[in-house]
């Protein structure tokens, strides 16, 4: 399967196609950008951008727990811990009267400091810095397979939860009156975001992953006129920004995740400026 992909990429122009790691990175971008950009639309619409940022940072704690448990590859510990955290936030929101923002900020402080404390024991934090900016270029085929499964699951999740979630964003009581189990949908969606974001952290990096999630949707919001075009424009922006960012990072020798994010941010500014001019 993977060989077929390698041969197909050979037909593309440019000297980057000579490198297997670039072919793998391109596949990874194509797998990770669509679910992230589509999920981003729902996250922006449900005003959860802060939550998804915390989830990205909780990857540190997940990583620490995975390392402490003696896992050789601690990256699966990140989505597992993030999903757990998502359920916790959801429960806290439901059973405390504190504002959501405050609850999330407290959790942010807890997870980030706990993660850094655990990872920096014996002064060894430096070896985890790759997780801060991510790495597309040293992927194993098994990681690609895992990524494909994650994308597929998240895609299914978006199909199931997308519509009810948007209705909940508009009015929870109206959603309830249409037979939507509001708490279950919101919790399920939080878990979905956590799962996707934490799975993307090894590639895109803790510092950048939330930007990649939010930016395509933020830009699409400015030019879309209905829901379908909202999702579609976010998808196209995410994919083009992702592919262009990867290729540019190859020639510039920069971190891929941040380069993609910078390109999509530039697209956002162009769109925002265009609207401002009108």
């Amino acid at each position: 399967m993977l060989d077929l992909w390698y041969h197909a990429v050979d037909f593309l122009p440019g000297d980057w196609t000579r490198f297997i790691f670039m072919k793998q990175a391109l596949l990874a971008i194509l797998l990770v950008m669509p679910p992230l950009s589509l999920l981003g639309v729902l996250v922006v619409n449900h005003r959860m951008a802060f939550f998804s940022d915390v989830i990205g940072h909780s990857a540190l704690t997940g990583l620490a727990i995975g390392t402490l448990c003696g896992l050789v590859d601690p990256s699966p510990a990140m989505p597992a811990f993030a999903a757990l955290l998502a359920v916790l936030v959801s429960l806290l929101k439901r059973f405390t009267r504190a504002s959501t923002d405050t609850v999330i900020a407290v959790i942010f402080a807890l997870v980030v400091s706990a993660g850094v404390v655990l990872l920096s024991r014996g002064g060894g934090f430096a070896k985890y810095t790759p997780f801060l900016i991510g790495d597309f270029l040293t992927l194993a085929p098994v990681q690609l397979a895992r990524l494909a499964v994650v994308s597929l699951l998240v895609g299914l999740g978006i199909l199931m939860l997308g519509k009810p979630l948007i209705l909940i964003s508009l009015s929870p009581t109206l959603a309830r009156s249409r037979g939507i189990p509001v708490f279950a949908v919101e919790t399920g969606f939080a878990v979905l975001v956590a799962f996707m974001v934490a799975s993307a952290v090894p590639l895109i990096g803790i510092l950048i992953v939330n930007s990649i999630l939010i930016l395509p949707a933020a830009a699409a919001r400015l030019c879309a006129h209905n829901l379908r075009s909202y999702f579609l424009i976010a998808l196209v922006l995410g994919l083009t920004g992702g592919v262009a960012g990867l290729l540019l990072s190859f020639y510039w020798g920069t971190a891929s995740g941040a380069t993609c994010s910078l390109l999509i941010a530039a697209a956002y500014l162009v769109v925002a400026f265009g609207r401002f001019r009108r």
Partner: protein
């Protein structure tokens, strides 16, 4: 559409239960109480309304009007019971349509009226295209709004769209939570006329929460005064023209200043 909570699930009532239905289609609320922590938001509410009846629910802020609607929607836990008998005198769960006061949409949100209808049909099968949405909007004089963004609608337009949505599919009970707050006079009269028509053509039970007593009273069949519990219950003429009694109940503001004029259509 939500079903009301299963009556069997709610706590048993003390004493004999007057649960016999009346002669026609109706909803009966018995000894309904809602508690939020130490605060009792509703205390022993008893209410009985028929199908085809427009009931006006009025009370001061914090009186528990919205809480009562939420209990009917099954959104807050309550004690007591809510029963519904349909036209064939069967006891069953009613379908409840709900018109919220407003939607939370940010100014830029690219969600159109058609999108709102699509996301309200929560199934994996795509909703049939445009046509059906416009058909649902037509009785509310809103079919031209199908492609408009929710954020671009005026208060009155949004309320007509939400009313059309609440009527698709047809509910047994329609709950309207301060639907005319922020709607201009012309939009307001149009909205009341539509609600009145719906009551007659579909024989709906309509529960309308509003502060706009003056306009709503001309269309209502019943007026219920609520402040944590039912204070008074009767026809608009009985309740709203008795200024002295309203003042003793602390609701002098609800007294009609002009003589009550029944809407000839109502």
């Amino acid at each position: 559409m939500t079903d009301l909570p299963d009556t069997a699930k709610s706590a048993p009532l003390p004493g004999p239960l007057p649960t016999t239905p009346c002669s026609s289609c109706c909803t009966r609320i018995e000894a309904l109480s809602v508690r939020f922590g130490a605060v009792e938001a509703l205390h022993e509410v008893n209410l009985h309304f028929h199908c085809g009846e427009l009931t006006l629910l009025i009370g001061p802020n914090g009186a528990g009007k919205t809480t009562l609607l939420h209990a009917l929607l099954g959104e807050v836990p309550y004690t007591g019971r809510i029963s519904y008998w349909d036209h064939s005198r069967r006891l069953r769960r009613p379908r409840v349509g709900y018109v919220p006061q407003r939607l939370s949409v940010d100014p830029d949100t690219p969600i159109t009226v058609t999108d709102l209808f699509r996301i309200s049909q929560h199934s994996l099968v795509p909703f049939p295209q445009g046509l059906m949405v416009e058909e649902a909007l037509r009785p509310m004089a809103a079919e031209h709004l199908a492609r408009r963004r929710l954020s671009a609608l005026s208060g009155g337009e949004l309320q007509r769209v939400l009313l059309a949505l609440a009527m698709t599919p047809l509910p047994d009970i329609l709950l309207l939570d301060e639907p005319v707050a922020g709607v201009d006079q012309a939009g307001l009269l149009l909205f009341y006329n539509l609600v009145c028509d719906l009551r007659r053509t579909h024989d709906l039970s309509i529960l309308l929460v509003t502060h706009d007593v003056e306009n709503a009273a001309t269309h209502a069949d019943r007026v219920v005064l609520l402040n944590r519990t039912i204070l008074a219950d009767g026809t608009p003429a009985e309740i709203l023209t008795d200024g002295d009694r309203l003042r003793t109940l602390g609701m002098g503001w609800a007294a009609l200043t002009k003589p009550l004029q029944r809407d000839p259509h109502a």
